[in-house]
Point group: D2
Chain length 372, copies 4
Amino acid sequence: MKSAVKKIGVLTGGGDCPGLNAVLRAVVKTAILQYGWQVIGIEDGFDGLIFPDRTRPLGLEDVRGILPRGGTILGTTNRANPFAYPVTINDETKLSDLSDQVLSRVRSLGLDVLVVIGGDGTLHIAYDLMAKGLPVLGIPKTIDNDLMHTAVSFGFDTALNTAMEALDRLHTTAESHHRLIVLELMGREAGWIALEAGISGGADVILIPEIPYDLNWIACKLQDRQQSGSRFSLIVIAEGAFPQGGKVQYLPEQDLGGPRRLGGAGEALAHALQSCLKAEVRVTVLGHLQRGGSPSAFDRLLSSRFGAMAVHAIARGESGRMVALRDQQITTVSLAEAIGKQRLVRLESDIITTALSLGICLGLDPKKIQSI
Amino acid sequence: MKSAVKKIGVLTGGGDCPGLNAVLRAVVKTAILQYGWQVIGIEDGFDGLIFPDRTRPLGLEDVRGILPRGGTILGTTNRANPFAYPVTINDETKLSDLSDQVLSRVRSLGLDVLVVIGGDGTLHIAYDLMAKGLPVLGIPKTIDNDLMHTAVSFGFDTALNTAMEALDRLHTTAESHHRLIVLELMGREAGWIALEAGISGGADVILIPEIPYDLNWIACKLQDRQQSGSRFSLIVIAEGAFPQGGKVQYLPEQDLGGPRRLGGAGEALAHALQSCLKAEVRVTVLGHLQRGGSPSAFDRLLSSRFGAMAVHAIARGESGRMVALRDQQITTVSLAEAIGKQRLVRLESDIITTALSLGICLGLDPKKIQSI
Amino acid sequence: MKSAVKKIGVLTGGGDCPGLNAVLRAVVKTAILQYGWQVIGIEDGFDGLIFPDRTRPLGLEDVRGILPRGGTILGTTNRANPFAYPVTINDETKLSDLSDQVLSRVRSLGLDVLVVIGGDGTLHIAYDLMAKGLPVLGIPKTIDNDLMHTAVSFGFDTALNTAMEALDRLHTTAESHHRLIVLELMGREAGWIALEAGISGGADVILIPEIPYDLNWIACKLQDRQQSGSRFSLIVIAEGAFPQGGKVQYLPEQDLGGPRRLGGAGEALAHALQSCLKAEVRVTVLGHLQRGGSPSAFDRLLSSRFGAMAVHAIARGESGRMVALRDQQITTVSLAEAIGKQRLVRLESDIITTALSLGICLGLDPKKIQSI
Amino acid sequence: MKSAVKKIGVLTGGGDCPGLNAVLRAVVKTAILQYGWQVIGIEDGFDGLIFPDRTRPLGLEDVRGILPRGGTILGTTNRANPFAYPVTINDETKLSDLSDQVLSRVRSLGLDVLVVIGGDGTLHIAYDLMAKGLPVLGIPKTIDNDLMHTAVSFGFDTALNTAMEALDRLHTTAESHHRLIVLELMGREAGWIALEAGISGGADVILIPEIPYDLNWIACKLQDRQQSGSRFSLIVIAEGAFPQGGKVQYLPEQDLGGPRRLGGAGEALAHALQSCLKAEVRVTVLGHLQRGGSPSAFDRLLSSRFGAMAVHAIARGESGRMVALRDQQITTVSLAEAIGKQRLVRLESDIITTALSLGICLGLDPKKIQSI
């Protein structure tokens, strides 16, 4: 195959996620083995194109042995938006547009295309850079599984298994001690992890952001369970779930003064249930544990497919597009189309029907769920 | 919802598979909680409808705690085809048609519908019983992932992770001892497990039944690897993979005199490579270990969806159909359409492209693969 | 073997712990298969001897399949001290001595010996009941590994592996995001879990109750690490660890009004480090996850040995004793001797030396550690 | 601390084993951080002192991230005895004494002490080199746990968990299909892995080299089980177990012409049981899978202690000694004393008593076991 491309750059942005290293390995191997290109690794997301000395060539040796490893060998950051970068001058911090600096860095590195691996925020930046003339190819990363234009992304399956194993562990404790245990899982806007981990981990109650919950309904259900002889219950709550009427406000991470407080949704629910049921309720917040660990088989395979097919798309001359899984095959969609659209749990989905069929309480009278 | 159905039977047939218990739990819970039906469990596949005293009512208590457990609480068997059942009279064994006996047993049990959980063979029997007037609903089970009309079935994802973890383990041994290690995985006709576990476990060579392999090509590739400084290699082979020209014959299980010999394909390859490369080659046959273990999150969820949606399909009056996953949703297809069609690895699939892009040897010159 | 014993009771008390079911299985199997005794299971610790209808015969069938399961099939509770049991009369709660009631229940059940599986608190109650004439045999349970008279008890090894796997997961996140991550583990008085999980999980700082920490020393060490190019650090803290000068007070569990607040020690440290280092610090509290899960091989074996050898000790006529692991063999020690003595980490132990040799910061200048 | 030592060499010999990398990390970190020594890594056991260019300096960076990884970054080999090394001249292979070459290499490298990590064979070579004047310090490695002078060594606990998990997996298959399943585990002379994994994995029959088995007794026990309604059985056999009267001969590995055949003991037993019981018997050979994987918490901790304390012993001037775990503390014993003594399962051990108490068949009438 012939191709005008000679050198590509690659970066990982946003929260870390199992499978990032597998994507990097596939990008590097495919670019070198199939096309003989050079690959430049950019450290810590777009920061690596803002600060000096944060890029390095990636060869086959650099990606050896990284397939089973979580995290990203390039590093990442949640913060680096070059269009609004916090710059401090004379003790005053302002958001500055450093995008031209990024573009000139890309040029001086001689990159023909930039491969951007990241979530909606990172891909948005990629899109904006593309609008200024940078050829980019996006690879979707979302541990929450909430991107619209890919059936699923990598990291989600591993997070799901981690959350399910936590439920398996809590199950025996809850049963032995006849306790109510609340497990808070990731998911600020979309309840995929809570819903799917909850079903597969045998939760009795599952609360997701898509269904504002009714505390009294939950309390009734828990009392019914108690009276029918089940002396314990497992309650899964997504971090973004909230009671009817009152959505909790989360501050953007960088504004937080203290150590970031996780567990808000879970603790709030536990407090409410405790005063309502006069029963002891324990809370566990899984937090960062969901982002770590060796990727599952599904995630390692999908990551490898994304990485390899992204390079082939570049070789075909594609630009401004994102690889995606659709109908079990890897395809590409335009970045313009892909960004800014969130895939939430549809209430008419058979997964919701399954949860209700198994007797799981979703926080609301089932009759009311369809009319949300 | 109203429904004329009052009592359903359920059985599991064929090889065991992680997720069977999760299906049973969903069937029982949905039938009882949503419709108030009775559920009768039938032991050891169709054997439970041939022999007396092999059925029992399944209540909510019977399916408590079985979600995370492998295997099937009903038992299963690979052998019980009531249309050709081995009956021994006067020391002579003949295959007899006991299907009328099965039908009259179903009638005497008062079953309105029979839920049959099994692979292609078991579903074929279900179809034949349906042709004789029995209302059935099928739930596809195939650890090899080779059924045509469902995107995937349960058990496969768990088997994949088990196989991948085995590769992770063998990797360190192979690397420390500079060895060639062959791992034989399941897959008599379809190479899905070998292909996907091989990619996700970082195998250097993957041999599947869909691509008859060329020993010399493999030997060359292994020597290239050796010469480029990689002093070890991991070779994954599906049990049904075979060299170009000579397909290995497998005897049907029941004809085997001795303990069933696994490892044929792996050992044959190891012998051939050893004499060809003058290097020590070790073989591991994963065998039954792939069928066991607690199901993964994906498999627990899919099993639960299959079980719940099968009961809802019955309530809607469906019969002679099989639940299936299509386009990420559970639907039903007619059994007539579903059986007898095997889903093999398509050589133009992006998974094959990914394997080749990563430099994995698939047993044949890539140029020849497309022309098979 | 002959024995006057005919019927034994068994209960589990205190916090749940992986291996309890394996002990119960071994007690039941040994008592029935080797001696033909009857075994009565008592539910929820000593509560089962206070409330009616909370005992049941345990046969071989009852313990089938429980070896790999966490928790206890008998249930447990942290609270039931029959010598000081909270009884509410006219809205007033008083601690009453119900020990005579317990003794008469044991007599009416016809128990020759009571097998008590529990930690120091539970064994103390057993000892006090013994003083009133009840023949007891103790089996030590302590997930914190802080009982003096047994080299180790079951549950600890499983908890250690759970904690280590959490560290493995956090490692990739910390490394990818260049973060300080604090993991709070169990251990109110003894730092065994934090120390051993910390070393085996590659922690950079480990804080245990035995070594009151110096915040400035830790901050210096973290800055040194940063300056030498290690842009992330993992900090493990036992829940009972505290800074020099100020021991944190923990309220007894039953006095807490709200949902029990875990994470005190970890959050306090994170706050302090954050203001001291001007760096973002994240906290994860492992909490109840450490108590759950299927027991490790070591724990299943030790539990089985404890259970079997406890029954043999009863058959030999022993009473008022506790089984223990000493010099790799199961022996028995007198309860009088065993209770009330806590095994803390000795600062001159080679495990402490190992941690320091690996460059791990233990919260204090090593020169000062030996002089605590 | 002062010390005349300036430079140490380190090598790993014999079969690979989880924890080797953790030992190497602790040796390197302790030598550099505590004493400022140089460490030279020697590749592939003693081969690295025979062939040129097989040594390299090991710095802190080289051991970063290897704690959780199986295998050995230095490589190993089962074959390299410098006192009897196979040398081929004119197509004729003779065993030659290359020990002087090894000694002169050590001198030219300027090594003050050689740290030898290996099993009995490797430590024997170390002892013989010591006799010729080389200062050595041994670190015991035995996945079979059969070294006399250390309570336990690293790798064993990980192998045990791997074997137990395999039994957990086989359990559900055996139960669902009502099958006899044989699992062959490591252990040529000592049955530790089979015995301990068998108990912790719930095996019904456990056969170890220390107890030559009686096929009829096993068949009777399996029939009893069948008749009491247990329609499946799990049988664990150590690779070195053999029937009464006839010990199987194993050829030394290097003499084998074909790919090394594992599974001898298991397949032999399965054949015998199959003809004896007229029942289908399946065999799984765990093989190399037992040597791989990430080390358990126990193994990572013990490895770290061994590595750190070996370096401290060198600093104290010790030589010709081996670190060992005794009474839960690390100590050293003289190599002369340590080598050539195998720790077999003692038949009067409480582990044997426990197995029998649980109703496990050990291949022989229990009355006869004590008189072996």
